[in-house]
């Protein structure tokens, strides 16, 4: 099983590295943007799958990171890592500011609150013209330099490869962190939060930590989006983006971070292909696809809201245990 996963991962990586030589420039730039979304999906999987905190609002730190990255590119530095840091900090800061909203909530309430945050962020991006350029967006963003002393990224292919490297590095970092006790604690919190408190763990600090961490990841992804398409507008962060990310994460097998990345890339790519192939009917087909997916996905179907305290008696085997989407606001 483990070997299979490694093989799939390696195969996907080879495919992604080779992709820009196989398709045209426009598709390459689309793919770069898709990879950035895949990185946001990594954060969504971290929250929704690993920690059991479902979210529809990661577009908010994604947007914050994108605008911060764009501004940093224009006024601070054209060096990629600097922009990434600024963007990640902006995403983390936005997540931190909204902590009072999300900390007490779980389950469907959290889904509602995060959706409201994400949508409000888009409204804000559209109205705060002085900084964001309003609904027209920010265009003509200077090209990024991948490292100090290197030439700027002038082609779609180079921008794609830069995005790929950053996404791979950050995803690897997340996977490494999940192998430490942080990963154990997050999974334990998803299984039974009350037990975690009863063992003396500071659960609110953990929940805050994973929200801010996922915010930083989304922020970094925002910077990648700006680097990849050299343009940013509120349309990049709409409600449909949140839903596509969630679908991608569910397709990828909720609790798997790598799966979420691949799932999101596939779903977004399918969306882009659909909008190219059937311009008029695309939203209708996509909507029906969501409905069908909700019925077919085994992970989605077996995702049951867990009780606060696990099961009454445990039969020997539980196939495909999936995230605990606890209901309600808790103290």
């Amino acid at each position: 099983m483990r070997a299979l996963r490694m093989a799939v991962g390696a195969g996907v990586l080879v495919g992604l590295v080779a992709a820009p030589w196989a398709v045209d420039d426009y598709t390459v730039s689309l793919l770069a943007r898709t990879l950035a979304l895949g990185l946001v999906a990594v954060g969504v999987a971290l929250l929704t799958g690993v920690a059991g905190l479902p979210t529809l609002g990661q577009t908010a730190p994604y947007a914050a990171g994108a605008y911060a990255g764009a501004l940093a590119g224009g006024q601070l530095s054209d060096v990629g890592p600097v922009q990434l840091l600024v963007a990640a900090a902006a995403g983390a800061a936005l997540a931190a500011v909204t902590l009072p909203l999300v900390l007490p909530a779980r389950g469907v309430v959290l889904l509602m609150i995060t959706l409201a945050i994400g949508e409000l962020a888009v409204v804000l991006a559209g109205r705060w013209t002085a900084v964001t350029g309003g609904t027209d967006g920010l265009a003509g963003i200077a090209a990024t330099r991948p490292l100090w002393g290197l030439p700027v990224l002038a082609t779609d292919r180079s921008r794609y490869l830069y995005t790929l490297v950053v996404v791979a590095v950050l995803t690897g970092l997340v996977l490494l962190v999940l192998r430490t006790r942080a990963g154990l604690l997050l999974r334990a919190g998803r299984d039974d939060e009350a037990r975690l408190r009863a063992s003396g763990h500071r659960v609110p600090a953990q929940v805050a930590g994973v929200h801010v961490g996922a915010g930083a990841i989304a922020g970094a992804a925002g910077s990648l989006l700006v680097t990849a398409q050299q343009y940013v507008s509120p349309a990049d962060f709409g409600f449909d983006t949140s839903a596509l990310l969630l679908l991608g994460v569910v397709v990828g097998g909720t609790a798997s971070v790598g799966g979420a990345l691949i799932g999101a890339v596939l779903v977004v790519a399918a969306r882009d292909w659909l909008f190219g192939a059937l311009p008029g009917q695309a939203p209708l087909v996509l909507g029906l696809a969501f409905v069908v997916a909700a019925h077919l996905l085994p992970t989605a179907r077996s995702a049951r809201p867990a009780t606060r305290r696990g099961r009454a008696s445990a039969p020997a085997a539980h196939p495909a245990r999936r995230p605990a989407a606890m209901t309600g606001v808790r103290p």
Binding site: T48, L101, P104, G107, F290
Partner: protein, 290 residues
């Protein structure tokens, strides 16, 4: 600061707030009773709005017809969502969110296909097309009447929830969903009933509110967002809280914009943060005692 120039935005805020309340009441119903986050709720409102735009011709009978057709269509759409949800009912919130989002996307696309990509004009009954004097200001007669009608609707809603058997069931389900199941009411029937009723509310709001929040490709998203904010602000299940929150959001969106045009979205954020921070503390004390 002279109060005078702000009378009109303040009144607009009341109309806007009441409209959002009727729409949000449906969302509270879905969420509170069935535990469903219905992302297609804004689309049901848009169904009502487009019906109004298509049927209203400036006469009173056309308004009655539009109301009847709009409410019926939105009710049916709500029931359809419930039926689609039946097969995935055991699955988690994520699946429900994905499914209702799919319905919203497909529904929105069908509406645009049927009514075109532009915002259609809405003609109110001729008798209400003019304006009346309010405190020395000209104010649209329709909006004034709408305020009265929506207030009556809100009052009726309150009575139904507080006084009738169905309302008691609804409140019981909000408190304890398992208990209602033990009363012998099938959860599937409750879901269909609740989503249909929520659809009716959204449809009525969509028809009557079409001259205020007109139908268009962006309507569904905007109404869903406002309803969400209102539900969250209002305490996730309380009718009175939802009403107060809706009125507050109405004022933020109208008076707030008039007073401080660039700050309005920040104000919505800030209001949510303040209310939730205060409530989280309040909840902590009430919850631990139960």
């Amino acid at each position: 600061m002279p109060v005078d120039p702000y009378v009109v935005p303040a009144l607009d805020g009341v109309a806007y707030g009441l409209l959002v309340f009727v729409a949000a009441a449906g969302l509270v119903l879905c969420f509170g009773v069935a535990g469903i986050l219905n992302l297609a709720h804004g689309t049901l409102f848009a169904v009502g709005g487009y019906t109004a735009a298509a049927l209203l011709d400036g006469s009173w009978p056309s308004l009655a017809l539009a109301l009847a057709v709009g409410v019926a269509a939105a009710t049916a759409a709500g029931a359809l969502v419930a039926v689609l949800l039946t097969r995935v009912a055991a699955a988690g919130h994520l699946t429900q969110a994905l499914l209702t989002f799919g319905v919203a996307l497909a529904g929105g696309s069908l509406l645009v296909a049927a009514f075109g990509p532009d915002d259609p004009p809405v003609r109110v009954p001729a008798a209400l097309d003019g304006s009346v004097a309010v405190a020395g200001h000209r104010y649209a007669a329709y909006r004034l009447v709408f305020i009265v009608v929506a207030a009556v609707l809100a009052g009726l809603l309150h009575l139904v929830v507080r006084r009738t058997r169905a309302g008691m069931l609804v409140r019981a389900a909000v408190d304890d969903a398992e208990m209602v199941a033990t009363l012998g009411v099938s959860p599937a029937a409750v879901r269909v009933g609740v989503l249909a009723a929520a659809g009716a509310l959204a449809g009525a709001a969509g028809v009557l509110g079409a001259p205020i929040i007109g139908p268009g490709p962006d309507t569904a998203d905007a109404v869903l967002l406002l309803s969400l904010v209102v539900v969250v602000l209002g305490g996730l299940g309380s009718t009175t809280g939802t009403l107060l929150a809706a009125l507050a959001v109405g004022q933020i969106q109208t008076l707030g914009v008039a007073l401080a045009p660039s700050a309005a979205p920040f104000l919505l954020f800030a209001a949510m943060a303040v209310v939730l921070a205060v409530r989280a503390r309040g909840l902590a004390t009430t919850r631990t005692a139960t």
